[in-house]
């Protein structure tokens, strides 16, 4: 399935819903969208991976890039993921210790204690 990207705002958070396959071919589009959001002033970003059915190292690289960019700017970045196959990818790469991972968007927002 092709990559799908949809953005919505929840309070002070920007939620990017990602669906489909994030791989070496589609990851550049995810990177562009994240950069647009961050450059456009999004400071607290939640990426919802709930409808992602494939995620590879290139996609993970893009997500880490966004995390670093936002942290450097004093913002926050969190991921929403509750699918075991994807969670296993985060564990194997040790990225589960790098990203805040939450089962739902609400939980991700509630856990964000970054100053507004």
């Amino acid at each position: 399935m092709e990559l799908s990207l949809a953005t919505r705002t929840v309070g002070e958070h920007t939620v990017l819903e990602v669906g489909g396959e994030v791989d070496v071919y589609t990851a550049p589009r995810l990177r562009e969208r994240l950069l647009e959001l961050i450059d456009g002033g999004a400071h607290r970003v939640v990426v919802d991976l709930g409808r992602v059915d494939f995620l590879d190292s290139t996609g993970l690289g893009v997500l880490v890039g966004a995390l670093k960019r936002l942290r450097a700017a004093g913002g926050s970045f969190a991921l929403v993921c509750d699918k075991e196959p994807l969670l296993k990818i985060f564990r194997i790469t040790a990225l589960d210790q790098v990203f805040p991972l939450h089962p739902t968007v609400d939980a991700a927002i509630a856990a964000d204690t970054t100053g507004a």
Binding site: E21, Y25, F54, D56, S57, P85, I92, A94
Partner: protein, 145 residues
């Protein structure tokens, strides 16, 4: 034993095709259904790595993939890039992954290796026997021969 061979121009768009074919052949070979996600990811990572190397070295030659089901399901992904120092790359720890100085490319390469090593029990990365390049060999148990 049945063999399926695939070679594709080193473009990211074709990696998905290689994954789809790889999983179709694995299913046909009798690889357990719950292993297919891992097969898909591993073939994708091996092909992504090969495409990245061909692009890095400006090589137009195709990436070659061979899948066979003789006594298990095995996949070879062959690139034609000069042998890399990155072959035995150690997995990056969480502190290194989060470091500002680590480039996205370096991170992606490290994470790709971690995924291959983590998802493929029987993994070998070695120089090709003929000419320049590296082959990634992976295999999984399969029900039918």
């Amino acid at each position: 034993m049945a063999t399926v061979k695939l070679s594709f121009s080193p473009a990211p768009v074709h990696v998905r095709t290689a994954r789809l074919v790889g999983v179709a052949v694995a299913r046909r070979a009798g690889v357990r259904e719950d292993l297919l996600d891992e097969v898909r990811l591993a073939i994708g990572e091996a092909c992504t790595r090969a495409v990245a190397l061909h692009r890095q070295y400006g090589l137009a030659e195709p990436v070659y993939v061979e899948m066979s089901d003789g006594g298990g399901y095995s996949v070879r992904v062959v690139d034609r890039a000069p042998i890399e120092a990155g072959l035995g790359l150690a997995a990056l720890g969480p502190d290194e992954l989060a470091k500002e100085s680590l480039s996205e490319d370096a991170l992606t390469t490290g994470v790709g290796f971690a995924l291959l090593a983590g998802f493929v029990e029987d993994l070998q990365v070695r120089p090709v026997e003929d000419g320049v390049g590296t082959e990634v060999r992976m295999s999984w148990p399969a029900g039918r021969a």
